[in-house]
């Protein structure tokens, strides 16, 4: 009875209409406000959006994790160690011996292998984390093997640099260790195909980790609470309650009134308003994502690298960074984000600034001294219209007439994926902190033919391919000497700065506003660790 009563009281206290005064969140609970609109699944093999990823990284541990202090370093999590064979084709994980599922049942290599194969067989978008590295449904049984209860042997098709494949594949959601027994018990078979418990895992959890999913009411609340048989340190707070509050203004008010501890969706204006509030501090994290202008190189004018170069001089990196993009983005011109392996430093990565003379010069060199007219498509969400209008105003000064067309995100993505644009303002997030994550999509283009339909490659969307860049990227990816690899990526980035089909504007910043009662809330680009928070 007590076990039931306590959570329901807490629920009532936090979810009920805001009491007039003296609201405070329970001492053992972290209350976080977010927009949960996009949350459609909690199955680690299926998660494709920010909320689910953020939550499940706290619910399910991974084989390998990023160092919370430095995301370009890897640390053991469920795997206590790993080794690579001399030929580089076999990767062996040694699992911890003390890992248990919340029920108390020991988690073994068999569960881990089942979870990996499951992701490949289910073949949601996430499976790409594995299939990109040569893993496939047909060969999965040979590629993933549980040698004994604590050893996993993985066969690779090429000798990839270990750091690269570990961070790209084995830190991802697909590298969670789910309970095979639960999955098989709840599996549903339709048309002879098993769903590997997908229907069950969509709303519940049974994996090794500090928390488990307790409740999820769509567009209302997600509650996770600590598990009993966790191998690691007990979470500082028993429970995390994530409330769906989709407006920035409401989140700000709730945070100021102490109805919530953490606000995840605040716009620049509200953050600026909160900056002077002593009860709140704002944690800004530089994410591995970008806002950028993409040019369609199948357009005769935009295929000219000098023209694209001119656009880079039309962006007021500094002015926008301090105003419109405050708390939202840091100026960045190079395609590899700061914090990733192989990134150019801040200065070398931003050789451009607002310079109308340089832009004009590039236009003259490109053969368009009198400018031209193009259409720029963009999302109607802030701050995109502001950014676009700013570029438009600067472009007008050197004779480029840009017509803006705002649209819903879904339309924008469809148009860009179909190459139906001239200039587009859009965003991209890298999956792991290695230069290859961006380079493989934003520099390499395996097949530029229109019928190839490589819509997941922004280079293909821009109808841009450069055999020399493809070659450089392929070599850099396979280089096993770190110093050499870094040098190769630097060279590639410098080449792309001048010639690439995108003008990168800002590296995404994730602002999180936290009340002062909450301490030790650890935040890194790829993980927001609820478990470290305490009050």
């Amino acid at each position: 009875m007590r076990r039931l009563l306590a959570p329901s009281l807490i629920l009532a206290a936090t979810l009920a209409a805001t009491p007039p005064a003296g609201a405070a969140t329970p001492n053992d609970t972290l209350v976080m406000a977010w927009n949960l609109d996009a949350l459609i699944t909690l199955d680690p093999a299926q998660i494709a959006e920010v909320n689910g990823n953020d939550i499940m990284r706290n619910v399910c541990d991974r084989l390998v994790a990023f160092d919370m202090k430095d995301s370009s370093k890897l640390v053991p999590e469920l795997a206590e160690s790993w080794s690579v064979s001399a030929d580089g084709l076999t990767l062996t994980f040694k699992l911890r011996k003390d890992i248990k599922f919340p029920s108390g049942k020991a988690a073994t290599a068999h569960d881990a292998v089942w979870s990996l194969k499951r992701a490949i067989h289910l073949n949601f978008g996430n499976a790409a984390n594995l299939t990109e590295w040569g893993f496939s449904a047909a060969k999965a049984d040979e590629q993933f093997k549980a040698v004994d209860d604590h050893t996993i042997e993985i066969k690779l098709d090429k000798p990839y640099p270990p750091g690269l494949i570990l961070s790209a594949a084995f830190t991802a959601n697909v590298a969670s260790v789910l309970n095979k027994e639960t999955g098989e018990k709840n599996a549903k078979t339709t048309d002879g195909k098993s769903d590997y418990g997908n229907a069950w895992f969509k709303t519940q959890s049974d994996c090794v980790g500090p928390y488990r999913v307790r409740t999820w009411n769509a567009n209302d609340v997600v509650i996770i609470e600590q598990t009993d048989n966790y191998w690691g340190k007990k979470p500082g707070l028993r429970r995390v309650l994530i409330r769906h509050i989709p407006e920035s203004g409401s989140q700000r008010l709730a945070l100021e009134k102490a109805d919530i501890d953490v606000a995840r969706l605040l716009n620049s204006d509200d953050l600026k308003g909160l900056a002077s509030n002593k009860d709140v501090h704002i944690e800004q994290t530089l994410m591995h994502g970008f806002t950028y202008l993409a040019f369609n190189a199948s357009d005769p004018i935009l295929s000219n690298p000098k023209v694209r170069l001119a656009f880079r001089y039309l962006i007021d990196y500094e002015g926008l960074g301090k105003t419109i993009m405050a708390y939202r983005g840091a100026p960045r011109g190079s395609l590899v984000p700061i914090g990733a392996f192989g990134a150019l430093d801040e200065k070398a990565g931003l050789p451009f600034k607002l310079d109308l003379d340089a832009a004009k010069k590039a236009m003259v060199e490109g053969g368009y001294p009198n400018g031209f007219q193009k259409k720029l498509i963009l999302s109607a969400n802030t701050p995109n219209p502001d950014l676009a209008q700013h570029v438009q105003a600067n472009a007008a000064k050197i004779g480029i007439k840009l017509d803006l067309e705002q649209m819903a995100d879904a339309n924008l993505f469809t148009k860009m994926r179909g190459r139906e644009f001239e200039v587009g303002l859009i965003g991209w997030g890298a999956g792991y902190p290695d230069a290859h994550s961006m380079v493989s999509r934003h520099a390499q283009n395996p097949d530029n033919r229109p019928e190839a339909k490589l819509a997941q490659y922004p280079t293909w969307r821009s109808a841009w391919a450069d055999p020399k860049v493809n070659e450089m990227a392929a070599q850099a990816m396979m280089e096993r000497d770190s110093a050499k690899r870094i040098a190769m990526y630097h060279e590639l980035q410098k080449h792309m700065l001048e010639n690439g089909p995108m003008a990168y504007m800002f590296q995404t910043i994730r602002p999180i506003a936290i009340r002062k009662e909450v301490k030790d809330f650890a935040i890194a680009p790829f993980k927001v660790a609820y478990e470290t928070a305490r009050k």
């Binding site: 204006d269 002015g319 105003a393 649209m407």
Partner: protein, 306 residues
């Protein structure tokens, strides 16, 4: 009594107030004159009238009234509070909001006029033809009208804009498509009352073709109620245009369309309320003006109220 003396005045006023008019021109001028006098006696209608005159003047003389170019950006002076330099403050890109509101009046006026010019003739034609001919023509045309009427106007406009693509021209077309059906209904009702009148029978007996009867003798009878209707609709048109702009489907940036400005201003509501307040106020004032003006016009033109 002074009134008795005044009945015999000469000159223009005498011409306009004469008890017996001597020519058709004098008769129509007299009607106009008395109409204007009745309109002028209604203070609210005059308020509406002055708002419209002000709107037109502001739109025409925008470059002279606005202290700054509408798209001049300056990130150093963004989100400034209202002051002597910037009457309504500056927006998120440092543009003067007062100048933008002033230029925005051009867009609003342009949209409303274009919609009226497109929708009124369509509605009038469909309504009169349908009412005059009756039978199958009537059934088909009125069911078509019903189809349009069965959707809420904003939803219908949204649908059309989504299909045609965002932009001012498409917004005008979309709004016009939602405005004509009620006008057609009205014109049909008016037509039904006049089609069996003696004068129509007389014209037909003289051998006038149907189109001539409709255009020359039915349409003029419907005109006054259509004008009233479209004037009263203007407020709705402005609001629909603003709503489309608000949703990013109307005028595209950087055009200072009021609805779009309001939508941007919403992001800054807690810190800089004037971003939303200035265009919002402009929308309220202008749509109120059109409503008052339309009401006054109905009092004058609608004979049933006498």
């Amino acid at each position: 009594m002074t009134a008795a003396i005044e009945t015999e005045r000469s000159g223009l006023v005498g011409y306009l107030t004469a008890e017996v008019s001597r020519s058709p021109t004098q008769a129509s001028l007299q009607r106009l004159y008395f109409g204007c006098r009745r309109f002028a006696q209604n203070p609210l209608a005059m308020v509406g009238f002055f708002v419209l005159v002000a709107l037109i003047l502001i739109a025409v003389f925008a470059p002279w009234i606005a202290p700054f170019p509408m798209n001049e950006q300056n990130l150093q002076t963004r989100l400034l509070w209202p002051s002597a330099d910037h009457l309504f403050g500056t927006d998120e890109l440092g543009r003067d909001i007062f100048s933008r509101v002033v230029y925005g009046s051009r867009i609003t006026l342009q949209i409303t006029c274009l919609v009226a010019v497109i929708a009124a003739p369509i509605g009038l034609l469909v309504g009169t033809v349908s009412g005059y001919f009756g039978g199958w023509t009537d059934t088909i045309m009125m069911r078509l009208t019903d189809v349009f009427l069965s959707f809420p106007p904003l939803i219908l406009a949204l649908g059309f804009v989504a299909a045609l693509g965002p932009g001012i021209r498409n917004a005008v077309i979309a709004i016009a498509l939602t405005v004509w059906p009620p006008i057609a209904r009205l014109a049909r009702a008016e037509t039904l009352t006049v089609r069996s009148s003696d004068y129509i029978a007389a014209i037909r007996a003289q051998g006038a073709p149907a189109w001539r009867v409709v255009v020359k003798h039915v349409m003029p009878m419907c005109l006054s109620s259509v004008i009233i209707r479209i004037t009263l609709n203007m407020a709705g048109i402005i609001l629909t245009a603003a709503a489309l702009g608000f949703l990013g489907l109307g005028a595209q940036p950087p055009m200072p369309e009021w609805g779009a400005m309001l939508s941007t201003g919403r992001q800054y509501l807690l810190g800089s309320w004037f971003l939303a307040a200035a265009p919002g106020l402009a929308i309220v004032v202008v749509s109120l003006g059109f409503n008052l003006f339309g009401d006054g016009l109905r009092d004058v033109l609608d004979p049933r109220d006498e």
